[in-house]
């Protein structure tokens, strides 16, 4: 028997404020709610309040995790916080959260900046830390408040994104099986400009010109400090890269599609997920769609969908689940987990 890193428990938190398709229809006037639902699969998005940061969502999720599992704050010795909406430029938000959560001062705490692939990247780090005996109990928190970046007049992203936090406990168990892994990871920075908040960092400071709001040919308004997404380019990237990542992972794991019990992909939008499902050849009953009441919550979609599938009994102890994250960067990652 050897030490295998495993996902012990997942919990998540959604902010109280909701944005529904009916709200958007009232706001935009000429809105075709049914068409947008048909394409996105989203009815309701959770939206962080004006004083609610990603760290607050993550801390709330971690507190739920402590309540729902045997993990206690004093036993966490490594905190990984994955976000693209940190509280500050510095310090690392993970350091602030170490204090908020009452984690011991011998606990390591780092931020990682990834979006839709972030949960899979976080798992790759957590597995390495546990199996190399650097850490015993890793707390992986994913949380984002993308809605803060969105201009109210930009329907292309406002329909899709919601805010959330998720907390995952990874620790070692004595087992002869691989419970997390193998991994397929990849990056293509040529796609950086297709999903971006351009202004506010060192490259493009937040000047008056960066704040100048413009309207694009589709009638969506935004400035350079807002989130911009080139939907068709992102879609083309996923059609090209995600099936290849799935094939690569199956090869690394030396298994066939039929040996995977359930597939949890990053919940981007229903249209994209259905296209990927058909192209890869996954049966609909083995493929997770979990968007309707949460929206696309970036790095938290996979843990939320995974825990929802566990809660619903769709997957149970022993189930082999494929997790695939892909998007902003471009960045992608896929792995297998076994539910324990």
């Amino acid at each position: 028997m050897s030490l295998s890193a495993a996902i012990r428990k997942v919990a998540y938190h959604l902010p109280a404020t909701k944005l529904t398709n009916d709200d958007l229809a009232r706001e935009y006037g000429d809105w075709d709610v049914s068409k947008i639902y048909e394409k996105t699969g989203i009815n309701v998005r959770a939206v962080a309040g004006p004083d609610e940061c990603a760290s607050d969502l993550g801390v709330a999720a971690a507190r739920k995790l402590f309540e729902a599992s045997d993990l206690t704050a004093e036993n966490v010795d490594y905190l990984i916080f994955c976000t693209q909406s940190p509280d500050y430029f510095l310090p690392a938000t993970a350091c602030v959260m170490q204090h908020s959560l009452g984690l011991p001062t011998h606990c390591a705490a780092i931020d990682i900046n990834q979006g839709c692939s972030g949960f899979v990247y976080g798992l790759s780090l957590a597995k390495a830390l546990v199996e190399s005996h650097i850490a015993r109990n890793v707390l992986l928190i994913t949380a984002d408040t993308y809605t803060r970046y969105i201009h109210p007049g930009d329907r292309s992203v406002r329909t899709i994104f919601g805010d959330a936090g998720a907390a995952t406990w990874i620790s070692g168990v004595e087992s002869n099986e691989v419970l997390i892994g193998p991994f397929t990871l990849g990056t293509d920075g040529r796609g950086a400009e297709n999903l971006i908040v351009r202004a506010g960092g060192a490259r493009t400071p937040l000047t008056d010109s960066a704040r100048e709001v413009k309207t694009d040919e589709a009638g969506n308004t935004r400035c350079d400090a807002n989130l911009y997404m080139n939907g068709p380019e992102i879609f083309t990237f996923t059609l090209r890269q995600v099936p290849a990542a799935v094939r690569d992972l199956l090869g690394r794991a030396s298994i066939g599609m039929e040996q995977v019990d359930y597939f949890v992909f990053h919940q981007a939008n229903r249209f994209m997920l259905e296209q990927l499902r058909r192209k890869i050849g996954i049966a609909s009953e083995k493929f997770c769609i979990n968007l309707e009441s949460v929206g696309n919550t970036v790095s938290s979609t996979i843990p939320i969908a995974l825990q929802s599938a566990i809660d619903a009994g769709t997957v149970a102890a022993g189930s082999k689940v494929m997790l695939v994250g892909f998007g902003v960067g471009y960045s992608w990652g896929a792995t297998m987990i076994q539910v324990i």
Binding site: A218, G231, E233, I234, T236, F271, M272, K279
Partner: protein
């Protein structure tokens, strides 16, 4: 690729009447959702991933067919 099937499916995406090769795409509902659907259609029909940026430059169905050929090459 079956050109007639492509035109029929594209007409459905655009919610326009019957399409000819030279009819402007903007006679129908040529928005970002239609572009996503067209990328998916072309991927399904001929296993070609069109660039969204290149697709947005197309003004007629013939432009899209030409783009498919250029992408294949």
């Amino acid at each position: 690729m079956d050109q007639q099937r492509f035109l029929t499916e594209l007409a459905g995406i655009l919610e326009a009447g019957p399409l000819t090769l030279d009819r402007p795409l903007t006679d129908g509902n040529w928005d970002s959702v239609a572009m996503l659907s067209t990328i998916a259609l072309v991927d399904e029909l001929c296993d070609v991933s069109l660039s969204g940026r290149d697709l947005s430059q197309c003004t007629t169905p013939k432009d899209i067919l030409d783009l498919i050929e250029r992408t294949k090459a």
